[in-house]
């Protein structure tokens, strides 16, 4: 679905922010791109819908070379959801806000009506349809931002740091939306440094450090490799730390969930 072929990217012609990035994301996969600040994660994300085009190499989305397509074209396939919903809210009503992208893509008005209504109900925002987006709370605005993108049903949904500033409940809700997207067969790409969130929702992880891909594998492989994460400025999930503490006692290293940790402890006690 998405392919990065030896991509190099530089903003100013002097320093490369992305170096020789090669990646393949298959249809239906849920991938988390992790790395510390400045590693190039957001830069990578912006290549998915053509906001940025590679300086060298190529990015293919659905087989199309992004350098040959406009952002508007690519956005129909890749829905990019930015971190701060306030960067996009401008419409008079919540309805118009959600309809915005659909109108830009020239959907017929009856399709627009159906889609907007569906998505507003799905995200529990239907009661606000005629209200101004500015009347919504922070959490509601975030839902609105996601709804606006899902309204036009892109194949790929990309999130930029979705958990920043979110409380526990909001993160759980986000996790549920991701689950829903997975059941619909969508391809999901997230940029984040929230390891716990990744552990709970993503199967595949790409670790970016200083513009290069230093690891690409299952969440289990990458997130439980404490030394790798620390080497690149990240914190391992708490359960991984626990696994390392108890490694001398037969506790397996590759623990991701609470359930696994519990069972592992029981086994340690049997010894």
């Amino acid at each position: 679905m998405i392919e990065f072929r030896n991509v190099y990217f530089s903003y100013n012609g002097k320093r490369y922010v992305l170096k020789n990035v090669s990646l393949e994301i298959k249809r239906g996969e849920a991938v988390a791109v992790i790395g510390e600040n400045g590693a190039g994660k957001t830069t990578l994300l912006k290549h998915l819908n053509g906001l940025l085009k590679p300086t060298k190499g190529a990015v293919l989305v659905g087989g199309k070379d992004t350098r040959k397509c406009s952002v508007a074209e690519l956005s129909r396939t890749v829905g990019l959801i930015f971190q701060n919903p306030n960067h996009q809210l401008f419409a008079e009503t919540v309805w118009d806000e959600v309809a915005f992208a659909l109108r830009n893509f020239n959907y017929p008005s009856d399709v627009i009506r159906k889609r907007v209504e569906y998505v507003l109900r799905l995200f529990d925002l239907y009661e606000y349809k005629d209200r101004s987006p500015y009347e919504l709370s922070g959490g509601e605005r975030k839902r609105l931002a996601i709804a606006s993108v899902l309204a036009y049903d892109p194949e790929v949904i990309a999130f930029d740091e979705p958990t920043i500033g979110q409380d526990y409940y909001q993160k759980q809700t986000l996790g549920q939306y991701i689950k829903l997207l997975k059941t619909q067969g969508k391809t999901i790409v997230t940029v984040t440094h929230d390891m716990e969130f990744v552990a709970e929702n993503f199967e595949k992880v790409v670790l970016l450090s200083r513009g290069e891909v230093v690891a690409c594998g299952s969440a289990r492989e990458v997130l439980t490799n404490k030394s790798l994460l620390e080497k690149h400025g990240l914190l391992a999930p708490q359960l991984t730390e626990l696994a390392y503490e108890l490694s001398d006692y037969g506790f397996p290293r590759d623990i991701l969930t609470l359930e696994e940790a519990y069972r592992a402890i029981k086994r340690v006690l049997e010894v």
Binding site: K46, V71, A72, F82, Q88, F90, F100, A101, Y134
Partner: protein, 256 residues
């Protein structure tokens, strides 16, 4: 519409701390230099203008700011060309050479003014500048407004870029369509920007209160501007050079 490169444009006026003579001068000397140049520039012929230009470029060289200045010069070339052209076409002078010389002088004046301003802004931090302004009698509130503006322009530029990215990602067309349509398409960018700016203003005000803004009537300045020997020497040199050039120009000693 090309991606906003406001940050690059602003680099021409952005301060960076260096260890040069010009950086250490009292901002008031530099302000005096500005005023002297701004007045004198109208009395100079082409040749003397060029001489003044070289003098100012020399100052930039000493201040290690020549690179930044180069970039802003390239950026202003279209405007300079326009000024030259307009003056050339509408000038009342007789010979072709005189018209060219006059037009070039007009264009050069703009360059000189820009570069002279650059000397002040590139070598003086906004805080030092406002301390100097206050010492010259300008109210601190005005000086603070200046600092905050300079401080937040890069921030707002970055927000604007993010907004453009977010809206482009929703299919907003900024390059195609009729003029009217493109104008209307600016709304999804302007509205979030304005709202964000207002919210930011609120947050900044709360932060400033929390840092004791307004606690005492007469606030002090950490870096109090003081006139030193170097300042007197600098202003003296500027007056000499500029006066000499004005005299040369007035006496008609130069060909153009």
């Amino acid at each position: 519409m090309p991606r906003i490169k406001v940050l690059q444009l602003l680099e021409a006026f952005s301060f960076k701390k260096e260890d040069t003579v010009l950086h250490k001068l009292d901002p008031r000397s530099k302000i005096a230099f500005e005023i002297i140049v701004m007045v004198a520039v109208f009395f100079l012929s082409l040749t003397t203008s060029i001489a003044l230009l070289f003098f100012i470029l020399l100052l930039h060289y000493k201040a290690k700011t020549l690179d930044k200045v180069k970039r802003s010069l390239y950026g202003s070339l279209p405007l300079l060309a326009l000024i030259f052209l307009l003056n050339f076409l509408f000038s009342a002078k007789a010979s072709l050479l005189e018209r060219a010389a006059y037009s070039a002088t007009m264009a050069l004046r703009l360059v000189i003014l820009l570069l002279a301003m650059g000397v002040l802004f590139l070598t003086t931090s906004p805080e030092e500048l406002s301390a100097a302004l206050v010492k010259m009698g300008i109210s601190y509130d005005i000086a603070l407004a200046l600092i905050l503006t300079i401080r937040f322009i890069p921030t707002l530029a970055r927000e604007a870029e993010t907004i453009v990215d977010a809206q482009l990602s929703r299919g907003l067309e900024l390059e195609k369509g009729s003029f009217l349509k493109r104008l209307r398409n600016m709304l999804p960018i302007l509205i979030p920007l304005i709202v964000l700016s207002i919210e930011k203003t609120d947050a900044v005000a709360a932060s400033m209160e929390s840092r004791c803004f307004g606690a005492v009537k007469k606030r002090t300045f950490y870096k109090e501007p003081t006139l030193k020997k170097a300042d007197i020497a600098f202003v003296g040199a500027v007056i000499l050079v500029v006066a000499a050039l004005c005299i040369i120009s007035a006496l008609g000693l130069t060909p153009l």
